[in-house]
């Protein structure tokens, strides 16, 4: 299996903040990989390092076979970058933006124009192509942005939250384009906060939280890992959180996720009978609960369960 992207042990600090604490990533050539995580998890930092915009403090990166730290120029020749942080010229028209990039990639003028026209057609922007970008809607902007990163026919494409803030129709349109690019052999790494997006597009998902990879696998695997259903408990007294967490761990064999703000414990279960067992155990331990429920899993539960801090950590921090 050839890898389009291979990152090992990426570490990046900004002053005293550790943005990445050892991220490993592997993207097989020709596949779509989703990088999932809450805001501030380190998704954008990861993409910026892979796309040679940032140097990591430690770790190794290979993109399309090139060492991104030693040969950034070679990497830049085979990648495309779109997202939060790569943009287009507001004052120039869509066509001019695409031609400019073609010229920077040293295409002859005629070829640059032909490629621009081709991309405008592909992204349904032929009419808008002669207007300045500042007149574009959000969806059109994302499309021209994506088109800009495709001028050089990249082998590896980075999409950093490509559909954040888009309406559902524009989102579906963009997904369609990404799928067809992958079908033609482009390797795609996309970051997203939307589970649905990762679920729809990605063959494999890497979940990052606080600069670390917390899970990796095919979407179905991740969902199975989280279990068929979720058990939620909110102790009346927040001081009971560690005890309730311990009981849940004993019952399910897995540490529950804890949301400290709401004081809610969430854990995956496959056996609905556990609910009555839990009620009994909590009662024995005289732990009162405001909320106690067995819920069918939503995609968000997968996310919450994977990215929320394990209850053990909360236990350590709570005075005994």
């Amino acid at each position: 299996m050839t890898l389009a992207i291979q990152a090992e042990g990426l570490v990046k600090r900004f002053g005293t903040v550790t943005a990445l604490a050892g991220v490993d990533l592997a993207v097989p050539a020709g596949s779509i990989i989703g990088v999932l995580g809450p805001n501030g998890a380190g998704k954008t930092t990861t993409v910026r390092i892979l796309a040679t915009l940032l140097r990591p403090d430690a770790g190794a990166v290979r993109v399309a076979g090139y060492d991104a730290l030693r040969d950034p120029v070679l990497v830049r020749g085979v990648i495309g970058l779109t997202g939060q942080y790569a943009s287009v010229d507001e004052e120039l028209t869509g066509f001019e933006n695409l031609v400019l990039i073609g010229r920077l990639l040293e295409l002859p003028r005629r070829e640059a124009r032909a490629r621009a026209t081709e991309l405008l057609e592909m992204f349904d922007l032929v009419e808008a192509g002669s207007r300045p970008i500042r007149t574009y809607s959000g969806g059109m902007r994302r499309r021209i942005d994506l088109a800009s990163s495709l001028v050089g026919r990249p082998r590896v494409l980075f999409l950093d939250e490509p559909t954040t803030g888009l309406d559902p129709r524009s989102r579906t349109q963009l997904w369609q384009v990404v799928r067809s690019l992958a079908a033609e052999g482009t390797s795609v790494l996309l970051t997203t906060q939307y589970l649905e997006e990762a679920d729809q597009l990605a063959e494999r998902i890497t979940v990052i939280d606080r600069g670390r990879v917390v899970a990796e696998g095919r979407p179905e695997e991740l969902k199975r890992r989280v279990g068929g259903q979720t058990l939620q408990v909110r102790p009346t007294d927040p001081a009971d959180l560690p005890r309730a967490a311990r009981i849940l761990t004993e019952l399910t064999g897995a540490r529950p996720g804890v949301d400290e703000e709401s004081g809610l414990l969430t854990t995956p279960v496959d056996d609905p009978v556990l609910l009555s067992a839990l009620v009994r155990r909590l009662d024995e331990a005289t732990v009162g609960a405001d909320e106690l429920a067995l819920r069918l899993p939503s995609l968000d539960d997968v996310f919450l369960s994977l990215t929320a801090r394990p209850a053990a950590e909360a236990e350590e921090r709570t005075p005994a």
Partner: protein, 270 residues
């Protein structure tokens, strides 16, 4: 990072040579020139400022300062050429900072182009802006009755010198543009330097009429030497001394500002 080695068996070069770097820089200069023409606010800045300064100073203060606005126009126009160019140089840092803030810079950096290209493009593109501003100023001055008393060659040399000065001060603008967090902060900081340089000079009034301390500042101000040179080249009079002083100040300013600006640029573009 010195060898321009090409990886064996790989078609693409690992480093970008000078010729390609120049080509990338020129492509981006073309983009920036298009920007000047396209973006109404930049064009207005470039065109309106010279017109405003000329009209206000000639008609409002000309009579009071020189007794007759016709005479004042002759003295002021060469000085305003210098001032206008300095003001226009504020735009260099502003444009670079805007590119960074909007993410356009990241787009360029993700392409296999020379790291210097966005900077070279911004600076070269701005030379065109300086030329437009000086052109507008001279055209209006001619309409009002300004006349060159020397020859066209001297006049061309004057314009070239003024643009050279703009290019020198644009490094200050680049430095500020790289350090400032938002584009909005750039003009304020840059103008705080440019205002004392332009108003504390012999552009608007003769240094003999000023208090001694101000006269002393005016005498060492590089703007004064440039204005003297420009006046000499356009109206006649001594040019060798002021020209020498101008070139020395350009060299000194470059020696100080260029390394600082490049360092700030590289830090921000890493």
């Amino acid at each position: 990072m010195t060898a321009a080695a090409t990886a064996a068996g790989s078609a693409a070069p690992r480093r970008i040579g000078v010729v390609r770097a120049v080509r990338h820089g020129l492509t981006l200069a073309g983009r920036n020139i298009r920007f000047v023409v396209r973006s109404p606010s930049t064009l207005v800045d470039t065109v309106i400022q010279p017109v405003l300064f000329l009209v206000v100073f000639v008609f409002l203060f000309g009579g009071a300062i020189a007794g007759d606005w016709h005479d004042y126009l002759q003295q002021l126009t060469p000085g305003l050429m210098v001032q206008i160019t300095l003001y226009a140089s504020v735009g260099t840092g502003l444009a670079l900072n805007t590119d960074i803030t909007r993410g356009v810079f990241d787009r360029f950096r993700s392409l296999p182009i020379a790291r210097s290209a966005p900077l070279v493009g911004a600076v070269l593109g701005d030379v065109v802006r300086y030329a437009i501003a000086v052109g507008v100023l001279l055209a209006l001055a001619f309409l009002l009755g300004f006349r060159i008393r020397t020859d066209p060659l001297s006049a061309l040399l004057a314009v070239a010198l003024v643009i050279l000065f703009g290019l020198t001060l644009c490094w200050l603008s680049v430095l500020v543009g790289m350090v400032a967090r938002t584009p909005q902060a750039v003009p304020g900081i840059t103008l705080a330097v440019i205002l004392p340089l332009t108003f504390g000079s012999n552009i608007f009034a003769a240094p003999e009429t000023m208090p001694q301390w101000l006269g002393a500042w005016v005498a060492v101000n590089p703007v004064t030497h440039f204005v003297d040179t420009t006046r000499g080249l356009l109206l006649g009079g001594p040019t060798t001394g002021p020209l020498l002083a101008s070139l020395v100040s350009v060299a000194v300013l470059h020696a100080v500002l260029l390394p600082l600006a490049i360092r700030a640029y590289l830090r921000r573009s890493r």
